[in-house]
Protein backbone atom coordinates (compact mmCIF):
# COMPACT_ATOMS: atom_id res chain seq x y z
CA UNK A 1 0.00 0.00 0.00
CA UNK A 2 2.85 2.37 -0.80
CA UNK A 3 1.81 4.24 -3.92
CA UNK A 4 -1.90 4.48 -3.32
CA UNK A 5 -3.61 6.36 -1.78
CA UNK A 6 -1.80 9.64 -1.50
CA UNK A 7 -2.45 11.86 1.45
CA UNK A 8 -2.00 15.37 0.11
CA UNK A 9 -2.72 18.98 0.93
CA UNK A 10 -5.97 20.56 -0.20
CA UNK A 11 -4.07 22.58 -2.80
CA UNK A 12 -2.55 19.39 -4.21
CA UNK A 13 -5.84 17.54 -4.07
CA UNK A 14 -7.38 19.73 -6.74
CA UNK A 15 -4.36 19.28 -9.02
CA UNK A 16 -6.00 16.04 -10.11
CA UNK A 17 -8.73 18.06 -11.82
CA UNK A 18 -8.26 19.59 -15.27
CA UNK A 19 -10.10 22.17 -17.34
CA UNK A 20 -13.02 20.59 -19.15
CA UNK A 21 -13.41 17.68 -16.72
CA UNK A 22 -16.76 16.16 -15.99
CA UNK A 23 -16.82 16.45 -12.21
CA UNK A 24 -19.40 14.81 -9.96
CA UNK A 25 -20.35 16.39 -6.64
CA UNK A 26 -22.77 15.11 -4.01
CA UNK A 27 -25.89 16.73 -2.63
CA UNK A 28 -25.62 18.92 0.47
CA UNK A 29 -26.42 16.17 2.97
CA UNK A 30 -24.04 13.54 1.59
CA UNK A 31 -20.73 15.25 2.26
CA UNK A 32 -19.77 18.25 0.16
CA UNK A 33 -16.05 19.11 0.01
CA UNK A 34 -16.50 22.81 0.79
CA UNK A 35 -12.90 23.39 1.96
CA UNK A 36 -11.71 21.92 -1.32
CA UNK A 37 -14.15 24.20 -3.14
CA UNK A 38 -12.00 27.13 -2.02
CA UNK A 39 -9.02 25.50 -3.72
CA UNK A 40 -11.05 24.78 -6.86
CA UNK A 41 -11.96 28.46 -7.10
CA UNK A 42 -8.37 29.54 -6.42
CA UNK A 43 -7.12 27.20 -9.14
CA UNK A 44 -9.55 28.94 -11.48
CA UNK A 45 -10.47 25.85 -13.48
CA UNK A 46 -12.48 26.38 -16.66
CA UNK A 47 -15.22 24.63 -18.62
CA UNK A 48 -16.12 22.12 -15.95
CA UNK A 49 -19.12 19.93 -16.58
CA UNK A 50 -20.58 19.50 -13.10
CA UNK A 51 -22.81 16.53 -12.37
CA UNK A 52 -24.79 17.22 -9.23
CA UNK A 53 -25.73 13.96 -7.52
CA UNK A 54 -28.60 14.34 -7.75
CA UNK A 55 -29.03 18.04 -6.91
CA UNK A 56 -26.64 20.92 -6.37
CA UNK A 57 -26.43 23.48 -3.57
CA UNK A 58 -24.12 26.25 -2.52
CA UNK A 59 -21.04 24.48 -3.92
CA UNK A 60 -22.54 24.30 -7.41
CA UNK A 61 -23.74 27.89 -7.16
CA UNK A 62 -20.28 29.08 -6.10
CA UNK A 63 -18.50 27.19 -8.88
CA UNK A 64 -20.93 28.67 -11.39
CA UNK A 65 -20.60 32.18 -9.99
CA UNK A 66 -16.81 31.94 -10.03
CA UNK A 67 -16.91 31.09 -13.75
CA UNK A 68 -15.58 27.54 -13.55
CA UNK A 69 -18.59 25.84 -15.08
CA UNK A 70 -19.75 25.50 -18.67
CA UNK A 71 -22.27 22.66 -18.24
CA UNK A 72 -24.59 21.88 -15.35
CA UNK A 73 -26.18 18.43 -15.17
CA UNK A 74 -28.56 18.32 -12.25
CA UNK A 75 -32.09 17.64 -11.06
CA UNK A 76 -32.13 20.96 -9.23
CA UNK A 77 -29.88 23.72 -7.98
CA UNK A 78 -31.14 24.98 -4.66
CA UNK A 79 -29.95 26.39 -1.37
CA UNK A 80 -32.91 24.67 0.29
CA UNK A 81 -34.63 26.98 2.70
CA UNK A 82 -32.31 29.79 1.51
CA UNK A 83 -33.79 29.87 -1.99
CA UNK A 84 -32.73 28.91 -5.49
CA UNK A 85 -29.04 29.28 -6.34
CA UNK A 86 -28.72 32.95 -7.33
CA UNK A 87 -25.56 32.59 -9.46
CA UNK A 88 -27.08 29.61 -11.22
CA UNK A 89 -30.14 31.68 -12.11
CA UNK A 90 -28.03 34.51 -13.45
CA UNK A 91 -25.74 32.27 -15.48
CA UNK A 92 -28.75 30.55 -17.03
CA UNK A 93 -30.35 33.86 -17.88
CA UNK A 94 -27.08 35.12 -19.41
CA UNK A 95 -26.78 31.91 -21.41
CA UNK A 96 -23.38 31.29 -19.83
CA UNK A 97 -24.02 27.66 -18.99
CA UNK A 98 -25.41 24.71 -20.85
CA UNK A 99 -28.16 23.18 -18.72
CA UNK A 100 -28.80 19.45 -18.69
CA UNK A 101 -31.94 19.31 -16.58
CA UNK A 102 -32.40 15.85 -15.14
CA UNK A 103 -34.44 13.97 -12.58
CA UNK A 104 -32.84 12.49 -9.46
CA UNK A 105 -33.22 8.77 -10.23
CA UNK A 106 -31.85 9.31 -13.75
CA UNK A 107 -28.63 10.73 -12.33
CA UNK A 108 -28.28 7.82 -9.94
CA UNK A 109 -29.09 5.31 -12.67
CA UNK A 110 -26.60 6.91 -15.07
CA UNK A 111 -23.87 6.66 -12.45
CA UNK A 112 -24.84 3.10 -11.59
CA UNK A 113 -24.54 2.24 -15.27
CA UNK A 114 -20.99 3.61 -15.23
CA UNK A 115 -20.36 1.66 -12.02
CA UNK A 116 -21.42 -1.52 -13.79
CA UNK A 117 -19.49 -0.68 -16.95
CA UNK A 118 -22.66 -0.82 -19.03
CA UNK A 119 -23.11 1.82 -21.72
CA UNK A 120 -26.72 2.62 -20.78
CA UNK A 121 -29.51 1.62 -18.42
CA UNK A 122 -33.29 1.66 -18.79
CA UNK A 123 -35.47 3.59 -16.33
CA UNK A 124 -39.20 3.90 -15.78
CA UNK A 125 -41.00 7.24 -15.71
CA UNK A 126 -39.74 10.27 -17.70
CA UNK A 127 -41.74 9.58 -20.89
CA UNK A 128 -44.02 12.56 -21.41
CA UNK A 129 -41.76 14.90 -19.47
CA UNK A 130 -40.22 17.79 -21.40
CA UNK A 131 -36.92 16.84 -19.80
CA UNK A 132 -36.61 14.09 -22.39
CA UNK A 133 -36.71 16.47 -25.37
CA UNK A 134 -33.63 18.29 -24.19
CA UNK A 135 -31.45 15.24 -23.63
CA UNK A 136 -29.67 13.63 -26.54
CA UNK A 137 -28.25 11.14 -24.05
CA UNK A 138 -31.75 9.83 -23.22
CA UNK A 139 -33.67 7.83 -25.79
CA UNK A 140 -36.99 6.03 -25.74
CA UNK A 141 -36.58 2.37 -26.61
CA UNK A 142 -38.50 -0.84 -26.19
CA UNK A 143 -38.51 -3.46 -23.47
CA UNK A 144 -37.34 -6.53 -25.44
CA UNK A 145 -39.27 -8.86 -23.11
CA UNK A 146 -42.68 -7.28 -23.59
CA UNK A 147 -44.96 -5.97 -26.33
CA UNK A 148 -45.42 -2.22 -26.80
CA UNK A 149 -43.65 -1.27 -23.58
CA UNK A 150 -41.65 1.88 -24.26
CA UNK A 151 -38.97 2.76 -21.71
CA UNK A 152 -36.24 5.37 -21.50
CA UNK A 153 -32.61 4.36 -22.08
CA UNK A 154 -30.17 6.60 -20.23
CA UNK A 155 -26.58 6.81 -21.35
CA UNK A 156 -24.11 6.00 -18.55
CA UNK A 157 -22.66 8.99 -16.68
CA UNK A 158 -18.90 8.52 -16.32
CA UNK A 159 -17.34 11.44 -14.46
CA UNK A 160 -13.64 12.11 -14.99
CA UNK A 161 -13.45 12.93 -11.34
CA UNK A 162 -15.57 13.18 -8.23
CA UNK A 163 -14.79 15.12 -5.09
CA UNK A 164 -16.48 14.80 -1.72
CA UNK A 165 -16.10 15.05 2.03
CA UNK A 166 -16.32 12.02 4.29
CA UNK A 167 -16.13 11.17 7.95
CA UNK A 168 -12.67 9.64 8.19
CA UNK A 169 -9.94 7.70 6.46
CA UNK A 170 -7.77 4.98 7.94
CA UNK A 171 -4.01 4.97 7.46
CA UNK A 172 -4.39 2.81 4.34
CA UNK A 173 -6.69 5.32 2.67
CA UNK A 174 -9.91 3.40 3.18
CA UNK A 175 -12.67 5.97 3.69
CA UNK A 176 -15.56 5.46 6.10
CA UNK A 177 -18.69 6.94 4.55
CA UNK A 178 -21.35 5.55 6.91
CA UNK A 179 -24.80 6.14 5.54
CA UNK A 180 -23.58 8.52 2.84
CA UNK A 181 -23.56 5.68 0.38
CA UNK A 182 -23.90 8.06 -2.58
CA UNK A 183 -20.20 8.62 -2.10
CA UNK A 184 -19.49 4.98 -2.91
CA UNK A 185 -21.56 5.18 -6.08
CA UNK A 186 -19.66 8.35 -7.04
CA UNK A 187 -16.30 6.70 -6.52
CA UNK A 188 -17.23 3.53 -8.37
CA UNK A 189 -18.52 5.50 -11.35
CA UNK A 190 -15.69 8.03 -11.59
CA UNK A 191 -12.27 7.56 -13.13
CA UNK A 192 -10.64 9.56 -10.32
CA UNK A 193 -11.87 10.05 -6.76
CA UNK A 194 -10.73 12.89 -4.51
CA UNK A 195 -11.71 12.88 -0.87
CA UNK A 196 -11.50 15.22 2.07
CA UNK A 197 -12.00 13.76 5.52
CA UNK A 198 -12.56 15.13 8.98
CA UNK A 199 -9.70 13.01 10.32
CA UNK A 200 -7.37 10.09 9.76
CA UNK A 201 -7.80 7.23 12.19
CA UNK A 202 -4.89 4.91 12.96
CA UNK A 203 -6.78 1.74 12.16
CA UNK A 204 -7.76 -0.61 9.34
CA UNK A 205 -11.44 -0.11 8.55
CA UNK A 206 -11.57 -3.23 6.39
CA UNK A 207 -10.69 -5.33 9.46
CA UNK A 208 -13.34 -3.61 11.53
CA UNK A 209 -16.58 -5.53 11.15
CA UNK A 210 -18.68 -2.55 12.16
CA UNK A 211 -17.12 -0.11 9.73
CA UNK A 212 -16.11 -2.32 6.80
CA UNK A 213 -19.56 -2.54 5.22
CA UNK A 214 -19.79 1.23 4.98
CA UNK A 215 -16.22 1.87 3.86
CA UNK A 216 -14.95 2.91 0.45
CA UNK A 217 -11.85 0.77 -0.16
CA UNK A 218 -8.64 2.66 -0.98
CA UNK A 219 -8.44 1.14 -4.43
CA UNK A 220 -10.87 3.74 -5.80
CA UNK A 221 -9.23 6.81 -4.34
CA UNK A 222 -6.55 8.92 -6.02
CA UNK A 223 -5.92 11.40 -3.23
CA UNK A 224 -7.14 12.30 0.24
CA UNK A 225 -6.79 15.50 2.26
CA UNK A 226 -7.58 16.07 5.88
CA UNK A 227 -10.00 18.99 6.18
CA UNK A 228 -11.43 19.44 9.63
CA UNK A 229 -14.97 20.77 9.37
CA UNK A 230 -14.46 20.35 5.64
CA UNK A 231 -18.16 20.54 4.75
CA UNK A 232 -18.72 23.90 6.47
CA UNK A 233 -20.88 25.98 6.06
CA UNK A 234 -23.02 22.91 5.31
CA UNK A 235 -24.06 20.52 8.02
CA UNK A 236 -22.14 17.26 8.28
CA UNK A 237 -24.00 14.36 9.84
CA UNK A 238 -24.03 14.69 13.59
CA UNK A 239 -20.60 16.32 13.55
CA UNK A 240 -21.78 19.88 12.99
CA UNK A 241 -24.89 21.80 12.00
CA UNK A 242 -25.18 24.14 9.05
CA UNK A 243 -23.93 27.69 9.46
CA UNK A 244 -27.23 29.50 9.04
CA UNK A 245 -25.65 32.93 9.17
CA UNK A 246 -23.20 32.11 6.40
CA UNK A 247 -25.89 30.62 4.19
CA UNK A 248 -28.26 33.53 4.74
CA UNK A 249 -25.53 36.05 3.97
CA UNK A 250 -24.47 34.14 0.88
CA UNK A 251 -28.02 33.90 -0.44
CA UNK A 252 -28.34 37.67 -0.16
CA UNK A 253 -24.84 38.67 -1.35
CA UNK A 254 -24.88 36.34 -4.35
CA UNK A 255 -27.94 38.02 -5.80
CA UNK A 256 -25.47 40.23 -7.69
CA UNK A 257 -22.16 39.22 -9.26
CA UNK A 258 -20.37 42.01 -7.41
CA UNK A 259 -21.86 40.92 -4.11
CA UNK A 260 -20.92 37.31 -4.86
CA UNK A 261 -17.33 38.22 -5.71
CA UNK A 262 -16.87 40.26 -2.58
CA UNK A 263 -18.37 37.46 -0.48
CA UNK A 264 -16.11 34.84 -2.06
CA UNK A 265 -12.99 36.99 -1.74
CA UNK A 266 -13.68 37.35 1.94
CA UNK A 267 -14.40 33.61 2.28
CA UNK A 268 -11.20 32.63 0.48
CA UNK A 269 -9.09 34.83 2.68
CA UNK A 270 -10.77 33.69 5.90
Amino acid sequence: MKSNPIFVSLANLVQFISDGDKIAIPKDTSGVAMSATKELIKKNLKNLHIVCVPIGGIQADMLIGAGLVSTVESSAITLGEYGTGPRFLQALKNNEIKMLDSTCPAIYAGLQAAEKGIPFIPLRGIIGSDLLENRSDWKVGENPFSEDDPIVFLKAIRPDVCIFHAHSADKHGNVFVGRNRDLITLAHASACTLVTVEKIIDDDFLSDNLRAGATLPAIYTSAISVAERGAEPLAFGEEYAEDQEFLTKYSIAAKTQAGFEKFIASWLSA
Binding site: K27, T29, S30, V53, P54, I55, S74, S75, A76, I77, T78, G80, E81, T84, G85, L89, L92, K93, N95, M99, D101, S102, T103, C104, P105, A106, Y108, A109, Q112, L123, R124, G125, I126, I127, G128, S129, D130, L131, N134, D148, D149, P150, I151, R179, N180, R181, D182, I184, T185, G237, E238, E242, Q244
Partner: protein, 250 residues
Protein backbone atom coordinates in the same frame (compact mmCIF):
# COMPACT_ATOMS: atom_id res chain seq x y z
CA UNK B 1 -57.66 36.75 15.19
CA UNK B 2 -54.45 38.56 14.31
CA UNK B 3 -52.46 37.90 11.14
CA UNK B 4 -49.93 35.60 12.77
CA UNK B 5 -52.51 33.41 14.43
CA UNK B 6 -54.49 33.24 11.20
CA UNK B 7 -51.38 32.11 9.30
CA UNK B 8 -50.72 29.59 12.04
CA UNK B 9 -54.29 28.22 11.83
CA UNK B 10 -53.96 27.89 8.07
CA UNK B 11 -50.74 25.92 8.38
CA UNK B 12 -52.29 23.67 11.01
CA UNK B 13 -55.28 23.10 8.74
CA UNK B 14 -53.01 22.11 5.87
CA UNK B 15 -50.98 19.78 8.08
CA UNK B 16 -54.15 18.14 9.39
CA UNK B 17 -55.63 17.82 5.92
CA UNK B 18 -52.49 16.10 4.67
CA UNK B 19 -52.46 13.78 7.67
CA UNK B 20 -56.06 12.75 6.94
CA UNK B 21 -55.21 12.02 3.30
CA UNK B 22 -52.47 9.66 4.39
CA UNK B 23 -54.59 7.43 6.60
CA UNK B 24 -54.00 3.76 5.87
CA UNK B 25 -50.65 4.24 4.16
CA UNK B 26 -47.88 1.90 5.25
CA UNK B 27 -45.02 4.07 4.08
CA UNK B 28 -45.07 7.77 3.21
CA UNK B 29 -42.04 9.55 1.81
CA UNK B 30 -41.45 13.29 1.88
CA UNK B 31 -39.03 15.09 -0.41
CA UNK B 32 -36.63 17.90 0.36
CA UNK B 33 -37.88 21.39 1.27
CA UNK B 34 -41.39 20.26 2.14
CA UNK B 35 -42.01 21.29 5.75
CA UNK B 36 -45.83 21.20 5.71
CA UNK B 37 -46.04 17.80 3.97
CA UNK B 38 -43.32 16.64 6.35
CA UNK B 39 -45.37 17.81 9.31
CA UNK B 40 -48.52 16.24 7.86
CA UNK B 41 -46.78 12.92 7.43
CA UNK B 42 -45.36 12.98 10.94
CA UNK B 43 -48.82 13.78 12.28
CA UNK B 44 -50.31 10.88 10.31
CA UNK B 45 -47.62 8.63 11.73
CA UNK B 46 -48.51 9.73 15.25
CA UNK B 47 -52.22 9.15 14.60
CA UNK B 48 -51.45 5.67 13.24
CA UNK B 49 -49.83 4.90 16.61
CA UNK B 50 -46.53 4.76 14.78
CA UNK B 51 -47.49 1.84 12.54
CA UNK B 52 -47.01 4.13 9.53
CA UNK B 53 -43.47 4.68 8.35
CA UNK B 54 -42.45 8.17 7.33
CA UNK B 55 -39.23 8.86 5.47
CA UNK B 56 -38.13 12.47 5.15
CA UNK B 57 -35.34 13.37 2.76
CA UNK B 58 -32.68 15.38 4.47
CA UNK B 59 -33.54 14.04 7.90
CA UNK B 60 -31.21 11.84 9.88
CA UNK B 61 -33.89 10.84 12.36
CA UNK B 62 -36.76 10.14 9.97
CA UNK B 63 -34.79 8.21 7.48
CA UNK B 64 -34.81 4.46 7.08
CA UNK B 65 -32.51 4.62 4.12
CA UNK B 66 -29.06 3.10 4.31
CA UNK B 67 -28.32 2.70 0.63
CA UNK B 68 -27.84 6.31 -0.40
CA UNK B 69 -30.16 8.71 -2.13
CA UNK B 70 -31.10 6.17 -4.77
CA UNK B 71 -32.93 4.04 -2.21
CA UNK B 72 -36.01 6.30 -2.15
CA UNK B 73 -36.42 5.91 -5.90
CA UNK B 74 -35.69 2.20 -5.87
CA UNK B 75 -38.20 1.77 -3.03
CA UNK B 76 -40.81 3.58 -5.09
CA UNK B 77 -40.07 1.38 -8.09
CA UNK B 78 -40.33 -1.71 -5.87
CA UNK B 79 -43.82 -0.59 -4.83
CA UNK B 80 -42.83 0.02 -1.22
CA UNK B 81 -43.92 3.66 -1.03
CA UNK B 82 -47.63 4.43 -0.86
CA UNK B 83 -47.64 8.21 -0.88
CA UNK B 84 -45.41 11.09 -1.89
CA UNK B 85 -45.72 14.86 -2.30
CA UNK B 86 -45.05 17.02 -5.29
CA UNK B 87 -45.51 20.71 -5.90
CA UNK B 88 -44.85 22.97 -8.81
CA UNK B 89 -44.16 26.50 -9.89
CA UNK B 90 -47.03 25.81 -12.26
CA UNK B 91 -49.71 23.12 -12.17
CA UNK B 92 -52.31 22.77 -14.88
CA UNK B 93 -55.75 21.20 -15.10
CA UNK B 94 -54.34 17.98 -16.57
CA UNK B 95 -52.24 17.52 -13.48
CA UNK B 96 -49.04 18.39 -15.33
CA UNK B 97 -46.48 19.96 -13.03
CA UNK B 98 -43.68 22.36 -13.82
CA UNK B 99 -40.74 22.77 -11.46
CA UNK B 100 -38.38 24.21 -14.07
CA UNK B 101 -39.47 27.64 -15.24
CA UNK B 102 -42.06 29.95 -16.76
CA UNK B 103 -42.19 32.55 -19.47
CA UNK B 104 -40.14 32.62 -22.68
CA UNK B 105 -38.71 29.24 -23.73
CA UNK B 106 -36.63 26.63 -22.00
CA UNK B 107 -33.87 26.88 -20.92
CA UNK B 108 -34.02 30.70 -20.89
CA UNK B 109 -37.27 30.96 -18.97
CA UNK B 110 -38.13 34.38 -17.58
CA UNK B 111 -38.54 32.76 -14.19
CA UNK B 112 -36.44 29.74 -13.35
CA UNK B 113 -37.01 27.41 -10.39
CA UNK B 114 -34.56 24.91 -8.90
CA UNK B 115 -35.49 22.00 -11.16
CA UNK B 116 -37.55 18.84 -11.51
CA UNK B 117 -36.03 16.83 -8.63
CA UNK B 118 -37.49 13.31 -8.65
CA UNK B 119 -40.87 14.37 -10.05
CA UNK B 120 -40.39 12.85 -13.51
CA UNK B 121 -40.17 9.48 -11.79
CA UNK B 122 -42.09 9.49 -8.50
CA UNK B 123 -45.24 10.81 -10.18
CA UNK B 124 -45.36 7.61 -12.25
CA UNK B 125 -44.46 5.12 -9.57
CA UNK B 126 -46.03 6.17 -6.28
CA UNK B 127 -49.74 5.29 -6.14
CA UNK B 128 -50.87 8.34 -4.15
CA UNK B 129 -49.21 11.59 -5.07
CA UNK B 130 -50.48 14.58 -3.13
CA UNK B 131 -49.90 17.84 -4.97
CA UNK B 132 -49.26 20.60 -2.48
CA UNK B 133 -48.89 24.27 -3.21
CA UNK B 134 -49.78 26.96 -0.69
CA UNK B 135 -50.01 29.84 -3.14
CA UNK B 136 -53.35 29.60 -4.91
CA UNK B 137 -53.18 31.98 -7.85
CA UNK B 138 -53.54 32.09 -11.61
CA UNK B 139 -49.76 32.44 -11.72
CA UNK B 140 -49.49 28.92 -10.30
CA UNK B 141 -52.66 27.22 -11.52
CA UNK B 142 -52.39 27.76 -15.24
CA UNK B 143 -54.31 26.45 -18.25
CA UNK B 144 -51.16 24.76 -19.56
CA UNK B 145 -47.74 24.58 -17.91
CA UNK B 146 -44.81 26.17 -19.78
CA UNK B 147 -42.63 23.12 -19.16
CA UNK B 148 -43.76 19.65 -18.19
CA UNK B 149 -41.45 18.42 -15.45
CA UNK B 150 -43.80 15.49 -15.09
CA UNK B 151 -47.14 14.83 -16.77
CA UNK B 152 -50.34 14.22 -14.81
CA UNK B 153 -51.24 11.21 -16.89
CA UNK B 154 -49.77 8.96 -19.56
CA UNK B 155 -51.10 6.94 -22.47
CA UNK B 156 -52.05 3.35 -21.73
CA UNK B 157 -48.87 1.77 -23.04
CA UNK B 158 -46.68 3.77 -20.64
CA UNK B 159 -45.83 1.91 -17.44
CA UNK B 160 -47.47 3.97 -14.74
CA UNK B 161 -49.03 2.98 -11.44
CA UNK B 162 -48.99 6.40 -9.84
CA UNK B 163 -50.26 9.88 -10.34
CA UNK B 164 -52.08 12.78 -8.71
CA UNK B 165 -54.54 11.86 -5.96
CA UNK B 166 -55.30 15.35 -4.68
CA UNK B 167 -54.20 18.96 -4.78
CA UNK B 168 -54.08 20.97 -1.58
CA UNK B 169 -53.68 24.75 -1.54
CA UNK B 170 -54.15 27.69 0.78
CA UNK B 171 -57.76 27.97 -0.37
CA UNK B 172 -59.07 24.48 -0.91
CA UNK B 173 -58.61 20.82 -1.60
CA UNK B 174 -59.15 19.18 -5.00
CA UNK B 175 -59.25 15.51 -5.87
CA UNK B 176 -58.03 14.31 -9.27
CA UNK B 177 -60.31 12.19 -11.44
CA UNK B 178 -58.02 9.91 -13.43
CA UNK B 179 -60.72 8.79 -15.85
CA UNK B 180 -61.79 12.31 -16.79
CA UNK B 181 -58.29 13.68 -16.27
CA UNK B 182 -59.54 16.69 -14.32
CA UNK B 183 -59.57 18.17 -10.85
CA UNK B 184 -62.69 18.22 -8.69
CA UNK B 185 -63.06 20.71 -5.86
CA UNK B 186 -63.65 18.63 -2.72
CA UNK B 187 -63.67 21.23 0.05
CA UNK B 188 -63.10 24.91 0.70
CA UNK B 189 -60.97 26.00 3.63
CA UNK B 190 -62.90 27.95 6.30
CA UNK B 191 -63.89 31.41 5.03
CA UNK B 192 -63.02 30.66 1.39
CA UNK B 193 -65.71 30.99 -1.31
CA UNK B 194 -66.07 29.12 -4.59
CA UNK B 195 -65.82 32.44 -6.38
CA UNK B 196 -62.45 33.10 -4.77
CA UNK B 197 -61.19 29.73 -5.97
CA UNK B 198 -62.59 30.28 -9.46
CA UNK B 199 -61.00 33.70 -9.64
CA UNK B 200 -57.62 32.35 -8.68
CA UNK B 201 -57.53 29.16 -10.75
CA UNK B 202 -56.47 29.25 -14.39
CA UNK B 203 -57.84 25.82 -15.25
CA UNK B 204 -61.39 24.51 -15.15
CA UNK B 205 -62.49 21.98 -12.55
CA UNK B 206 -65.70 20.33 -11.42
CA UNK B 207 -67.31 20.67 -8.02
CA UNK B 208 -70.30 19.30 -6.10
CA UNK B 209 -73.37 21.54 -5.81
CA UNK B 210 -72.79 22.01 -2.12
CA UNK B 211 -69.09 22.27 -1.36
CA UNK B 212 -68.07 21.11 2.11
CA UNK B 213 -65.73 23.06 4.35
CA UNK B 214 -62.33 21.45 4.86
CA UNK B 215 -62.42 19.60 8.16
CA UNK B 216 -60.63 21.42 10.97
CA UNK B 217 -57.82 19.77 12.91
CA UNK B 218 -59.02 17.83 15.93
CA UNK B 219 -57.90 18.76 19.41
CA UNK B 220 -55.47 15.84 19.40
CA UNK B 221 -54.08 16.96 16.06
CA UNK B 222 -53.56 20.50 17.30
CA UNK B 223 -51.73 19.30 20.37
CA UNK B 224 -49.57 16.98 18.36
CA UNK B 225 -48.72 19.62 15.79
CA UNK B 226 -47.70 22.05 18.49
CA UNK B 227 -45.42 19.74 20.40
CA UNK B 228 -44.13 16.66 18.71
CA UNK B 229 -44.16 17.91 15.14
CA UNK B 230 -42.36 21.16 15.76
CA UNK B 231 -39.63 19.45 17.76
CA UNK B 232 -39.05 16.88 15.07
CA UNK B 233 -39.19 19.37 12.21
CA UNK B 234 -36.55 21.66 13.66
CA UNK B 235 -33.91 19.13 12.64
CA UNK B 236 -34.90 19.20 8.98
CA UNK B 237 -36.55 22.57 8.40
CA UNK B 238 -34.98 24.90 10.94
CA UNK B 239 -36.37 28.09 9.42
CA UNK B 240 -39.90 26.70 9.16
CA UNK B 241 -39.74 25.40 12.72
CA UNK B 242 -38.62 28.81 13.95
CA UNK B 243 -41.53 30.42 12.11
CA UNK B 244 -43.96 28.02 13.74
CA UNK B 245 -42.40 28.59 17.15
CA UNK B 246 -42.71 32.35 16.67
CA UNK B 247 -46.42 31.90 15.92
CA UNK B 248 -46.72 29.90 19.09
CA UNK B 249 -45.38 32.72 21.22
CA UNK B 250 -47.11 35.46 19.19
Amino acid sequence: MNQASSAKSKIELLIASIARSLEGCRHVAVGASSPIPGAGALLAKHLSKNTMRVSILGSERHNFFTDGGVELFDLAAQGRIDAFFLGGGQIDGDGNINLVGAGDTYPQHTVRWPGSFGSAYMYYLVPKVILFREEHSRRVFVPKVDFISSPGSSSNNIYRRGGPMSLLTNLCKFSFNKNENEFRLESLHPGVTLEEVLNNTGFSFTHPKKIPVTELPSYEMMNTIQSLIQDQLSEIYPIFAKRMAAFQKG
